[in-house]
Symmetry: C2
């Protein structure tokens, strides 16, 4: 199968150069990018007036949580979790989670996200949705043992069960990732065993770290050190670890993350909405830490729109530092594409010969994206997920001209409504 | 002319109750809101799966600046103004400004804004666009005399000329507003004369106040007091004054604004992008100050999307105060609708019998707006301007099912491109 995207404005290469070009895809790869490609292709997409962008990599989310969108806003994190989210999550069945995953997949396809790193439960069900939707999914089962050795055992068993189920799908688009929830919800024993298993099975690890001041207080009280120092001392950190949030990091923490090649998944909307705080983006970037971008779950955002997330990231750090030059458009665009792919060891996030064909085509024939003075600026500061018109993953078209081809949208929206009624 | 909006979910009344209802419009007013209205109407709009919301009131913008969108980002305010914006503005002709105003009008109609308070030059041209577009415009000519008495005279003359031209259009949708630019760019003589003229002609006044720390420094050095104290002492303030920004306000300033019934137009995106700072929203609200919402110009935002602006407002104040309960969804929604209308002394911003028919119909048949757990939350936290499908102002349909009826979209987009080429 080959696809030719013609007449578009292409964001090309690792430096995101904006060029007029055609893009030829063969199989799951980009094979040629140049002006006027004269070869034929199975599908030809006319991208006149459109921008051909690398697809977005959502580096931290809980995709089924769209079900809970808007159910509890404007609340402190612990109220939100304990009174609203956890009681509903306790009622979640694998089938309900699958409904939520469908909703999340639909939202991601519609807003140009091509790859996501997920943490939730019953990830074998989420994997079935990823398989069907055509997205690229990195799926972690969120382990929580709260120091109970029986629970440690059970959580590890469940993780390995889900790993096997996911590997059984045998899809190059779907990878299992180890997902211990956080240092404050996981025992050292669990964290150490996860570290061992990840190395043994060559899997990535993702974990929430230093999200709130309360967490820092708890961990410091329990262990006498920061979460990052704790993880470093038990040998947990490495270039295969992606920590989510990293809001409350001191200079020593930043150095440790840099030294270990850890990636940080930044979630500005969630950190703002839950009032968790502002992550030290400049310190991290200056130290050479790879920083990607995530939306977190839709219950704390409240959507999975990576275009909106880029704007939030840029604006948050400018005002927080009282410096308009930080978190410039290109830096943030890189976080949302290439940096995310790098963290996942994925040859994507860039439009260039040899890269995976993960692409979002954005319609610029809209008043808020004209005049086309600066393509990257418009994507970061002015566009939103609804401007994405066509989404391609692994050389397959998931949405074409606003029509999702791989999923039954009407059915998914109606199932989502029914499910939340049953959960209330 | 009558319009019946059927089967929608309506955000009803001053308390924004969410109800299933039909809405009947006759002439320019809402005349009935209830379940199953059986009367006929000239136009029937089926709003099943849609939310019928008050249209948004953009309380501070420079609508023609869409031309400069993305031309200069990630820069300090003074660099941005002096090296990029002012040199281009110097080349602006009335015709170019009209092109920019068309682009802005199109963007506002598309994103559900029904009323805007504008400050720019050649507002008689902007008024022609407002007349044609069907929007409701409050238009101020931005006066700057920099203390030069000749300039004071010329600026006042130009303001009065534009006032006459705008009044000559004789449209109930278009009002002239006095717009001295700011205390740091206007002489006391100009400010005093504006105050007198506004009272004489029963016009509102809008002015930038306390936007940056630099401004506070300048005014304090020049006058030995804060901009707000200065304006209070010369008798400038009143309930007919709308100050834009109000970022750097101390407790005394807040009390003065409250005592005088001044409205503050909050511009979170612009204040974040230019790194101006964070306005003391909680202090203002607690003191009883009326606070509306604005996008500022598209060169510092970079769009006119009031839905995006609501999310930014809510998230900014939560993280800034490290308190997720502040700037809750309803408070922010009220700022973007009723509070803006109140400032403009406009009987709008609410869907209820007797109010002006200024309405935005938002399509909720989208994955990021489902399940419909909370309508106001979804509009503030998850929707964006592209979700608006139908826009009605003064009982007239400006956009129906995504098609703008009053303006030639293709022509406007193409003129905008040509104009910016000529300005570069």
């Amino acid at each position: 199968m080959s696809i030719l995207i013609r007449n578009g404005t292409v964001i090309y290469g690792e430096n995101f150069d904006v060029v007029k070009a055609d893009v030829l895809i063969e199989g799951n790869r980009i094979v040629e990018v140049k002006r006027r490609i004269n070869e034929g292709a199975d599908v030809v997409i006319d991208a006149a007036g459109r921008v051909v962008s690398p697809g977005f990599v959502n580096l931290h989310t809980h995709s089924p949580m769209g079900l809970f969108r808007g159910l509890a806003d404007d609340l402190p994190l612990m109220d939100w979790l304990q009174k609203h989210i956890w009681p509903r999550e306790a009622k979640l069945t694998p089938e309900y989670i699958k409904v939520g995953a469908y909703l999340g997949a639909l939202e991601m396809i519609r807003s140009g996200t091509t790859t996501f790193l997920d943490m939730y439960f019953h990830m074998d069900k989420v994997a079935e949705v990823v398989l069907e939707s055509g997205l690229r999914g990195y799926l972690s089962y969120g382990m929580i043992d709260l120091g109970d050795p029986d629970k440690t055992e059970r959580e590890l068993r469940e993780a390995l069960r889900e790993m096997k189920a996911i590997e059984g799908l045998n899809s190059e688009r779907i990878s299992f990732v180890f997902g211990p929830h956080a240092p404050y919800t996981c025992s050292i024993a669990l964290l150490k065993e996860v570290r061992r298993l990840a190395a043994e099975h060559s899997k990535l690890i993702t974990i929430h770290v230093s999200e709130t001041m309360a967490e820092i207080g708890q961990i410091t009280e329990r262990y006498g050190k920061s979460p990052v120092v704790l993880l470093d001392e038990i040998g947990f950190l490495g270039s295969d670890v992606i920590i989510a949030h990293g809001v409350w990091l001191d200079s020593r923490d930043v150095q440790i993350l840099a030294r270990n090649g850890v990636t940080v998944a930044h979630n500005p909307a969630s950190n703002m909405k839950l009032a968790s705080g502002v992550m030290p983006l400049q310190k991290l970037l200056n130290a050479g830490v790879n920083v990607g971008l995530g939306t977190d779950g839709s219950a704390s955002n409240n959507n999975l729109d990576m275009l909106e997330e880029m704007k939030l990231a840029a604006l948050l750090h400018k005002v927080h530092n009282l410096d308009p030059t930080v978190a410039d458009a290109r830096t943030v665009f890189r976080m949302a594409t290439l940096n995310g792919a790098k963290a996942l060891r994925l040859n994507a996030g860039v439009i260039k010969e040899g890269y995976l064909a993960d692409i979002a085509v954005i319609n610029f024939n809209k008043p808020h994206l004209r005049p086309v003075n600066n393509v990257i600026s418009h994507i970061v500061y002015s566009a939103n997920g609804n401007d994405v018109e066509t989404t391609i993953v692994n050389g397959k078209i998931l949405m074409l001209d606003g029509e999702v081809l791989t999923l039954n949208e009407e059915k998914i929206l109606s199932e989502a409504e029914k499910t939340i009624e049953r959960l209330s």
